[in-house]
Symmetry: C3
Subunit: 135 residues, 3 copies
């Protein structure tokens, strides 16, 4: 059955949630199957990326910030602040859901893969993720 | 069992298909699980985005049109018209499938999330989506 | 049960793995359901794209190479070579997983859709994909 996780966010950027998802999975005792994650927001997204070298994470954020800058004269959707429209575009360029296989009772991630919640706004507070384990 | 939906498209841009998918889901009486959507085309894609303020939708389309313009001298794949290669690139930057959790008999979308078929070509006609509900 | 496939890669670019996945699926005798693919790397991704005209594939690679060039002065993550940070960014812009419906015992791909492993590095060797078939 899908369950809702509230993730405490401390600002814009990539937040590593791998350990949190691993702990949730352990409680299910699922040996083989799939772990589905879905974020219920349009200005944050889910991403699998390198979790080893922090410079990779920093460069990824910088590159996206340059590609999708704030205050672009193209934007007409500006009422919610300069970080809002860039957030929607970054969310469209990435994804609102992830599917990760479960093997031997654990997430079958590669050696350098981590799961990230990518907060695209200047936001501190909760974000909702729906977790679902299936066969 | 997967079923095929034919979606009538009225031109390039983001088409809100949330209500259509909700109606399909209601017919299945599924209380908890996952709703999978897959588009059988390489010049259209599926996206979850804000469905409240139409300026967000318009800006998203404008931004992608500027990032991936027609008649780029880089293109060699030009036989099918100026909108064809940009359509393939936009499809690669977004996604051909979506997975949305089902909770309490309904799609567990966030307050501002809608499901969109993003038609990347100047196209009026049918597009095929495969819908599948799973546990 | 998820199973691991080792894919032999012969360098940077889009590698068509449609036939390989079809053969794996045939061995399962699955009539209806979903085929899940997950790549265990952060510098390669999975993509559904046109598999007919090779110029579409070439243009897609060229466009991404121009959008995400090597030796961008923005990069600080440079120790693993000039192709490493662009590879992470291209992986973030595409996807690490695919979900494709199965209908009538075969992948329900559209007429022009193929499944590609997109190698973003100058790499020759194995890449791991996890294949999982579900109801």
């Amino acid at each position: 059955m899908p369950s809702k996780l509230k993730i405490q966010i401390s600002g814009q950027g990539l937040h590593d949630i791998t350990d949190l998802i691993r702990r949730e999975l352990e409680q299910t005792n699922k040996a083989e199957g799939l772990c589905h994650l879905f974020i219920q927001h349009t200005s944050a997204s889910l991403l699998i990326q390198e979790n080893y070298d922090p410079t990779a994470k920093a460069d990824l954020e910088s590159w996206f910030n340059r590609l999708v800058p704030e205050n672009d004269p193209l934007y007409t959707h500006t009422l919610e602040g300069p970080d809002d429209m860039p957030a929607h575009i970054k969310a469209a360029l990435t994804s609102s859901s992830l599917v990760i296989p479960i093997m031997g009772g654990t997430l079958a991630l590669g050696t350098w893969q981590g799961i990230f919640l990518w907060e695209h706004r200047y936001y501190c507070g909760d974000r909702n993720i729906i977790l679902h384990i299936s066969d």
